[in-house]
């Protein structure tokens, strides 16, 4: 069986390899949209291979927070809380990247078209739900710093973690139920056939999800190691 340090190392190296392949696919294999008549920001469109996958990685992280929070509330084992905290921190990073890259991309698309890009982006139901999720997890991370008593902190954080996670399925549903969403549904139930991106682009987007999953794993394992070190210090300080 792999030891924790070997698993961490394997996650780091597979992430580096996957991201190099992703870079190659995005820049040398994916179509060059600079001559496409319907594409107004061909360079920024390359974010297609990075922006949805960062949202995916944040949802994956928050799913782990949700599961670990439920287990914590049932078992009251602080190790579950440590697990949830590590996943939440990394998930928050990906959530921030998804929002920021989406804003940059939306700015390129709609500012040029003479619209108020920020208003267009931040009235999209999917973006609103993801923004609410971002605020809930910002509060989650903040309250962890503000509450000193470990059991109380873990209990409060678990409630915030569960609440925050409910935004993930809502975000999935938002663009499928509400026609006003700017986000095309390219896969899964309720997918819009007009939004199809083609097999090659679809394959690269799929690969970007794998690359981001590996990156999430590498960062999460590293964060978990730090949490274990912090626990060791606490033990050494009280003993």
């Amino acid at each position: 069986m792999l030891s924790a340090s070997r698993l961490r190392l394997a996650a780091i190296w597979s992430t580096v390899a996957a991201w190099l392949v992703l870079g190659y696919l995005a820049w040398f294999v994916a179509p060059d949209w600079s001559n496409a008549p319907d594409v107004s920001a061909p360079l920024t469109r390359k974010l297609l291979f990075y922006h949805p996958a960062s949202a995916w990685a944040s949802f994956l992280a928050y799913t782990l927070v949700f599961a670990a929070s439920i287990v914590y509330l049932r078992e009251r084992d602080l190790r579950r809380d440590t697990f949830a905290r590590s996943a939440a921190e990394v998930g928050f990073l990906f959530n921030t990247i998804a929002l920021a890259t989406g804003t940059a991309w939306g700015w390129a698309e709609w500012q040029r078209a003479g619209q108020n890009a920020i208003a267009t982006i931040y009235t999209d139901p999917k973006v609103v739900v993801v923004l609410i999720m971002w605020f809930v997890f910002a509060a989650y991370l903040m309250l962890r710093r503000l509450v000193d008593e470990p059991e109380r902190r873990a209990r409060l954080a678990a409630v915030f973690g569960i609440l925050g996670f409910t935004c993930a399925p809502l975000s999935f549903l938002a663009s499928r139920v509400l026609a006003s969403s700017l986000h095309p549904d390219v896969a899964g139930p309720g997918a819009n056939a007009d939004a199809a991106v083609g097999a090659q682009v679809g394959m690269i987007i799929g690969f970007s999800m794998i690359a981001y999953t590996l990156l999430f794993l590498a960062l999460f394992l590293q964060r978990l190691r730090l949490a274990r070190l912090e626990e060791r210090i606490e033990l050494l300080e009280v003993s």
């Binding site: 107004s40 920001a41 061909p42 360079l43 920024t44 390359k46 974010l47 990075y50 922006h51 960062s54 990073l93 921030t96 990247i97 920021a100 890259t101 940059a104 991309w105 700015w107 390129a108 500012q111 040029r112 990156l215 960062l219 590293q222 964060r223 190691r225 730090l226 070190l229 912090e230 060791r232 210090i233 050494l236 300080e237």
Partner: protein
């Protein structure tokens, strides 16, 4: 510089900048914690 080039640059700076910063923060925190453990273990002996 066109709007497309600017947003492209901003978008990718956000991705790699945020990831780089976070990795640097993790590395720095890890080193500090290891030093602290060493210090506490020395005190115990």
């Amino acid at each position: 510089m066109s709007a497309d080039t600017t947003t492209f640059f901003i978008g990718f700076t956000i991705i790699f900048g945020a990831l780089g910063l976070y990795l640097w923060r993790l590395d720095r925190a890890g080193k500090k914690l290891e030093e602290r453990i060493e210090e506490l273990e020395k005190q115990k002996k």
